[in-house]
């Protein structure tokens, strides 16, 4: 099938009637998997909307992919490569660390960027040119604390991945909110990145006797935790963040995944039109489906990535310009409700999408099912 | 009570490796200006005795005095090989240990490092030019005297074997020793080369006022140049004295030399 791609030769962004949009995602490294999913959604978005109109002229959009390898040193050069290629704006990426590393280069080059699923506050903080389509870590922590407390868990254990800003941020806000609500975190366990043996901490948790565990880790660790917990006979309510919301978890962890609760930016069914279109596009090409791990299930990362692309296009059209500062201003002023997977968008002073709802889903009998919508008043 | 003339005084030296007693209660004296030979069957402990003297091993028992200063004993393990070299004992090795990839000149120049007045800072920022200059000049001087100057740019490893032995001795001389210890300098040399070596050793002894301690299996060389011989077997001294006396000692013949008939056979 035809895939959209760019040629690396053209240096001028608006050469002829094409412009370039940079895709800043990890294709390799620890987050390579997540990056691939987001790319897929961006590719779809590009398929849905292959052009923008500026100054009455229609420009074809070329996607310029650069792999940041989930590595901060590489992220800098990947960002520079995008800048050198003359992209109009950047979409991406998965994982906050790389975005933070690259962020200042975009702002120096006056190129607006829209974060997809980088949930750390520092991505947009103090950076005028970085925007973000998803919500922030503290919000998720609060949501999950609410859910846990209101579902009768007053004592929980937490599992933190040291060095992972996402996990640690969530654990911290969860702990704070949960304590304020009146619950106690009985046992807070930690592990290091790349660890794959969790029996020691799981045994500790088992020993502490809690009924629920909050483990907002990267997806990588989810099946490991669940399966090892099963082997140890640890039977608890697993609560996690958006990263666990993935059909692969059901594949990887099988029955052990039953009961897991996670929140997400987007839950399938939230926007039937988007779901249908994306699924159709996915199913049209076996290689796309393969990249999506052979399912046509839609996760939050798909939705926010799609939205990020759309937001950028909208801003370009709103600004009616290909100049970075103008697009940035248009993004800052943007207040749109139509055409996105995750509902209306508006950015706050930091450039973060103002979102106050999160969808909570649970795996029941081998399928993610929508549970409730949690809203937090800021 | 050190005799003024005694340069090296070994007392009851013992060196044990696990169950093996390589050197067993060995005592010896080396007087200034002498060439003293250490002979004995293979594995008798000659090289080990050298290693104790030069600080490579720390003896299990006994002590070694050099010019009145104790350089090795069983409790004090503070003298490392480099300190001993600094005190004035230089050595060569049974298996040649040059720096084979470096030039002949650099091989000798390295021996000057120890005595140059410098520290890493001055050396890095070239604040010790005169010192460096002097080291280089002295090295040239020595190479010329040893007839090695035409090889100065060669890689040491590519020298003919005999030259390598000679270079190793030159390098040892460059450290400015009072006592020179040679471990089988003639090993792997043919009789003619061995004769040349004998002459060479006598020459440098006179020229640099050296005392020489020598291990060797070539009896022609040993008998020809030594003033005094110690013979050891199983780490124990079995004979000592003037060459002729040792050569005719029945214990030495039995353990080491073999009878005349055997040699002629």
């Amino acid at each position: 099938g035809a895939s959209s791609s760019s040629s690396s030769t053209g240096s001028d962004a608006a050469s002829g009637d094409t412009i370039k949009i940079g895709i800043f995602e990890p294709k390799t490294g620890e987050n390579g998997g997540g990056g691939a999913q987001e790319e897929l959604a961006i590719e779809y978005a590009n398929y849905v909307r292959p052009t923008v109109t500026v100054g009455g002229k229609e420009y074809k959009i070329q996607l310029d992919w650069q792999d940041n390898q989930s590595d901060k040193t590489v992220a800098v050069t990947a960002a520079q490569k995008l800048i050198a290629d003359g992209v109009v704006g950047v979409v991406g990426g998965y994982g906050s660390g790389v975005c933070i590393a690259a962020g200042s280069y975009y702002s120096n080059a006056k190129i607006p960027a829209i974060g997809t699923s980088c949930t750390n506050a520092n991505v947009t903080l103090g950076n005028d040119y970085y925007f973000r389509a998803c919500y922030l870590d503290p919000f998720q922590g609060e949501v999950m604390a609410n859910w846990a407390y209101s579902n009768g868990f007053t004592e929980v254990a937490t599992i933190d991945n040291i060095g992972n800003e996402y996990t640690s941020g969530l654990v911290k806000t969860f702990t704070d909110s949960f304590t304020v609500l009146g619950g106690t975190v009985v046992d807070s366990e930690t592990f290091q990145t790349n660890e794959s043996d969790f029996k020691a901490i799981l045994t500790n948790i088992k020993n502490s006797g809690v009924k629920a565990v909050f483990a907002p880790t990267d997806y990588l660790y989810a099946p490991l935790l669940l399966n090892q917990a099963h082997d140890l006979g640890l039977d608890v309510q697993w609560i996690a963040g958006d990263t666990w919301y993935s059909n692969v978890l059901i594949q990887d962890a099988g029955d052990n995944a039953n009961g897991v609760v996670a929140d997400t930016f987007y839950s399938e069914g939230g926007n039937p039109e988007f779901d249908a279109g994306f699924k159709e596009w996915l199913n049209a090409d076996a290689s796309r489906k393969a990249t999506n791990l052979d399912t046509d299930a839609i996760v939050g990362n798909h939705a926010v990535s799609y939205d990020a692309y759309m937001l950028l296009c909208d801003a370009i059209e709103a600004a009616d310009s290909l100049e970075g500062p103008a697009i940035r201003d248009a993004l800052a002023a943007l207040d749109e409700s139509e055409g996105y997977a995750c509902g209306p968008y508006k950015f706050d002073a930091n450039g973060d999408a103002i979102k106050n709802t999160s969808y909570i889903c649970q795996i029941t009998s081998g399928e993610w099912t929508y549970q409730s919508t949690e809203t937090v008043q800021k | 009570m050190a005799d003024k003339n005694v340069v090296l005084n070994i007392e009851h030296l013992t060196m044990q490796f696990g169950g093996v007693i390589a050197v067993n209660d060995f005592s010896a004296q080396v007087k200034e200006g002498e060439i003293v030979a250490l002979i004995g069957p293979n594995g008798a402990g000659k090289t080990t005795a050298f290693n104790c003297i030069t600080g490579v091993y720390h003896p299990t028992n006994g002590k070694v005095d050099f010019c009145g200063e104790t350089i090795a004993n069983s409790f004090k393990i503070s003298h490392t090989p480099d300190e001993i070299t600094k005190l004035g004992i230089a050595r060569t090795f049974q298996n040649i240990r040059l720096f084979p990839k470096q030039s002949v000149f650099d091989n000798v120049l390295i021996a000057k490092h120890m005595r140059a007045k410098q520290n890493p800072f001055t050396a890095t920022f070239r604040l010790n030019k005169s010192e460096e200059q002097r080291s280089r000049e002295e090295t040239w001087q020595l190479l010329k005297e040893q007839g090695l100057d035409k090889y100065a740019d060669w890689e040491a490893g590519s020298l003919p074997y005999g030259m390598q032995r000679r270079l190793e001795i030159a390098r040892a001389l460059a450290t400015g020793p009072k006592l020179l210890c040679l471990d089988e300098p003639a090993a792997g040399m043919n009789p003619q080369e061995t004769d040349e070596l004998a002459e060479f050793i006598c020459q440098i002894r006179d020229k640099y006022n050296l005392t020489v301690l020598l291990i060797e299996h070539h009896m022609n060389l040993v008998m020809g140049i030594s003033d005094h011989i110690y013979c050891i077997d199983f780490g124990k001294m079995i004979a000592q004295g003037k060459p002729e006396a040792v050569a005719s000692d029945p214990k030495v013949i039995e353990a080491y030399l073999g009878t005349q008939e055997e040699r002629d056979a």
Binding site: A200, I201, T203, N204, L224, V248 | -
Partner: protein, 292 residues
């Protein structure tokens, strides 16, 4: 409390068993080539992928030998391509070649199988969970240490009491002289890789069955730890590698259980450094005395 301790001990033993099997591979290759086979951890990772694919086709009793075979072939091919041409090259080049192969395997896995973790198939007979009161163990937890000890015993018999073992020991000391004895040194080295990779494959089955997912970098951290284990035990020494493996496994569990997971790797290394300071060639390593 007792059951808690017992459970943690079991965790440590099973982890240690898998580590030990991998550590043997390091030790054997080092013993014979004086070279750290940095790619060993990645061969182990590849074994994980092989299992995923073969179990999709075969029943487990075919899949397991098949995986072992594939890993062995991989190891032998690597040896032939990347190490054999460098027999007379400086040691450092061989080491870099090993690092290069390790890069290559990781990147290849990344390219072929994507960076997304793939779920490791469940081998039901290994996953059966036993429950004794408060303690739960899966069968693999028990099998790992037992199998390790049995295999080690067989291996030691092989090395010390067979002609092949004699030739292996000869090659590890002096390849040239071994050649003069009529030993086909290359074949012996290949055999060593066969054994090392076979054990890595078994280790990988035990390890991944317990951990359920494989991704391109799954091999690097266990690889490093097993290497540490081999050094702690005295590299080149099979018994040492096994004991080292158990020490590293148990320490890791203990430190993590105590809540210092930040320091679990650091502790392993600190232990290593401490052991090396007092025993510069590991616990059971041959003393490297330089005869002057």
């Amino acid at each position: 409390m007792i059951s808690y301790l017992l459970q943690q001990l079991l965790n440590g033993l099973s982890l240690g068993g898998a580590y030990a099997l991998i550590a043997i591979g390091y030790t054997m290759v080092y013993g014979i080539l004086r070279m750290i086979n940095f790619a060993h951890g990645d061969e182990f990772m590849m074994a994980g992928y092989f299992m995923i694919f073969s179990l999709a086709v075969f029943p487990w009793y075919f899949a397991i030998p098949f995986v072992i075979l594939c890993t062995i072939v991989l190891g032998v091919v690597i040896e032939r391509i990347a190490y054999k041409p460098l027999r007379s090259a400086p040691r450092m080049s061989v080491m870099i070649s090993a690092i290069g192969i390790s890069y290559l395997l990781q990147n290849l896995a990344n390219y072929l199988f994507t960076a997304m973790p793939q779920s490791y198939p469940q081998i039901d007979i290994l996953k059966h969970v036993y429950t004794f009161g408060n303690i739960s163990v899966s069968r693999v937890t028990i099998i790992a240490p037992v199998l390790t000890i049995v295999l080690t015993f067989l291996l030691i018999m092989l090395v010390n009491h067979t002609k092949l073992g004699m030739a292996m020991r000869a090659c590890s000391k002096d390849q040239e002289t071994a050649r003069i004895m009529g030993i086909k040194v290359d074949n012996i080295i290949t055999t060593t890789f066969v054994i090392g990779c076979g054990l890595a494959a078994v280790g990988s089955i035990l390890y991944f069955t317990d951990r359920n997912t494989v991704q391109p970098y799954s091999g690097s951290l266990p690889g490093l730890k097993c290497f540490v284990a081999a050094v702690i035990g005295g590299i080149g020494n099979i018994q040492g590698a096994v004991i080292g493996g158990f020490i590293v496994g148990i320490c890791q569990i203990v430190i993590t259980a105590m809540g210092y997971s930040v320091f679990s790797d650091a502790f392993t290394f600190a232990l290593l450094v401490l052991i090396l300071i007092f025993r510069p060639s590991g616990l059971f390593g041959e003393k490297a005395v330089q005869k002057v």
